[in-house]
């Protein structure tokens, strides 16, 4: 096992091939559920949801012939813990250049955990207009929800303990795709 400060790699949960299959399946599910991709728009949540959304758009284009628009969403200003946290989050740009009104928005993130990020993302999208529907796609659902939120599309359900860290690796950021489980010590 390798050690990096006080975290240790426990296991690899998804290989690049498994990751790719899961992403393709999600793309098919999005098309099936929305009866095509006509009104669908993808919104990736910073940071790792953004390349995931781009990837899903590429796949949907390959399967359907049209590429849904892709936006980037930073949820910092919608977090519910800004009065409590000790570190100040860096506020990043939101880039949603299409009309949210009437669209079927698929929010995309790497990990679904407490559900608080998804809650913030829902509020942020609704403030941009009134979509026909908002759906939620994640690569990993690791449990431990603190809000009544669920994902519509899940790459893999991974039971975890709270001391574990789920790391979704992406070609664009990490040079490879995959999902790893790390343990936090102390």
């Amino acid at each position: 096992m390798q050690e990096t400060e006080n975290v240790t790699l426990k296991s690899t949960i998804m290989s690049p091939a498994e990751f790719d299959r899961a992403l393709r399946r999600i793309a098919h599910e999005v098309i099936e559920r929305n009866k095509g991709a006509g009104d669908v728009a993808l919104v990736g949540i910073h940071t790792r949801g953004v390349p995931l959304a781009e990837r899903l758009a590429d796949l949907i284009e390959r399967f359907e012939g049209t590429r849904p628009p892709v936006g980037k969403l930073d949820i910092t200003l919608y977090r519910d813990d800004l009065t409590e946290i000790s570190l100040q989050p860096v506020v990043k740009r939101t880039e949603v250049d299409f009309d949210v009104h009437g669209a079927k928005i698929v929010l995309v993130d790497d990990v679904l955990y407490t559900g608080r990020t998804a809650r913030a993302a829902l509020d942020a999208v609704v403030d941009m207009g009134r979509p026909a529907a908002i759906q939620f796609a994640v690569m990993v659902d690791r449990g431990h929800r603190e809000l009544p939120i669920r994902a519509d599309y899940v790459g893999k359900n991974v039971p975890t303990s709270r001391s574990e860290i789920v790391h979704v690796l992406l070609q664009e950021i990490d040079g490879t795709d995959g999902v790893e489980l790390w343990e936090r010590h102390g």
């Binding site: 975290v7 200003l77 800004l82 946290i85 570190l87 506020v91």
Partner: protein
């Protein structure tokens, strides 16, 4: 099995956060260029919020911002209050005119009373230099200097820098270096420099961000000590000041300061220091015209320049809210 990816440590959760570095914004003496540029970047995101159908985010919900204006300035006060409300903060507004300060209460007693209202941040304007610093020592809350005497007006300088950075970028001249966006740029500031906190704060900030500043006005109104700042020059010659400048900022002339002692008569001032189209021809081809407002029409700047396509005057006003939103966010969120 552990592959090559195992070398990569897990990402920080939550991502991209840092310890809050400042409790107050009084002037720029202890601010780094990186901190200021981060603030300007945050202001760009705030401007996005203000361009949406719902111009409000919940970021500062639960915080209270108090504006304490011991000197009139409806524009600046409204801009701060809008910035607070656009982030869902509560706002308490205190104007000296309607308070017991008139009844002889000391500033310290007034602040004690106001502190019972439990504000998290105080926006302070006062005719005497140093009052915001003094308040910062007395209160547990954060303090933003909204103008103190002739000393400083940091949010005005921030919104000027924000406006100019955006205008240069839109003109195809984006910053070569993120942290020194004004490297190779020159700002000419024209007017009653001596009495101007706007001139002082801009000189401080523009040079911090890598630029050069030429301060220009009647010789008696050019404070020598400012030339000690690296990157700052003084001149009484308007043509010299504007030559090669990337932006020319005219300061508001306060009529009560005109007179035989220091400033010449209004007519003489206009003849020697009004910024006119002929001056702009000496400046850089893209040069912009700026003014902190409110404008004395055809006194500091010729109307055709103030209303012309090179003018950033309206954009300066529009930048006030997003820049102040960024200031409130950066001083309030996170524990130091």
């Amino acid at each position: 099995m552990i592959g090559a990816a195992a070398q990569v440590p897990p990402p920080p959760t939550p991502p991209a956060a840092a310890a809050r570095r400042h409790r107050h914004l009084l002037d720029f003496t202890d601010w780094t260029a990186e901190e200021v540029v981060s603030l300007l970047d945050t202001a760009e995101v705030m401007a996005q919020v203000l361009a949406r159908p719902v111009k409000r985010v919940p970021a500062l919900q639960g915080y209270t911002v108090a504006t304490l204006f011991f000197e009139d300035s409806t524009r600046t006060r409204l801009s701060f209050e809008r910035a607070a409300r656009a982030q869902s903060a509560d706002v308490i507004s205190f104007a000296a005119g309607g308070s017991s300060l008139r009844k002889g209460e000391s500033i310290r007693d007034t602040l004690r009373t106001i502190e019972q209202l439990q504000a998290d941040l105080y926006v302070v304007r006062h005719p005497s230099a140093g009052v915001p610093h003094q308040l910062a020592r007395w209160t547990n809350g954060a303090v933003v200097n909204a103008g103190d005497g002739r000393h400083a007006h940091p949010t005005q300088a921030l919104l000027d820098a924000y406006t100019l950075r955006a205008a240069l970028t839109a003109a195809g001249l984006p910053p070569a270096e993120r942290e020194r966006p004004f490297t190779g740029r020159r700002l000419a500031v024209v007017g009653d420099v001596e009495h101007s906190r706007v001139a002082r704060s801009n000189a401080e900030l523009f040079t911090l961000l890598g630029g050069e500043v030429v301060l220009c006005g009647p010789a008696a109104l050019l404070p020598r000590e400012l030339s000690r700042l690296p990157g700052v020059h003084l001149t009484a010659d308007l043509r010299e000041a504007v030559t090669g400048a990337d932006a020319v900022m005219a300061l508001r002339i306060q009529h009560e300061r005109l007179g035989p002692k220091r400033l010449p008569s209004l007519a003489e001032y206009v003849a020697r220091y009004q910024v006119r189209p002929a001056h702009l021809e000496l400046a850089a081809p893209h040069a912009f015209v700026m003014h902190p407002g409110p404008l004395n029409r055809d006194v500091e700047v010729a109307s055709e320049l103030a209303d012309g396509e090179r003018s950033l005057v309206e954009r300066q006003v529009a930048s006030g809210v997003p820049v102040r939103m960024a200031v409130l966010y950066s001083l309030l969120v996170g524990k130091k």
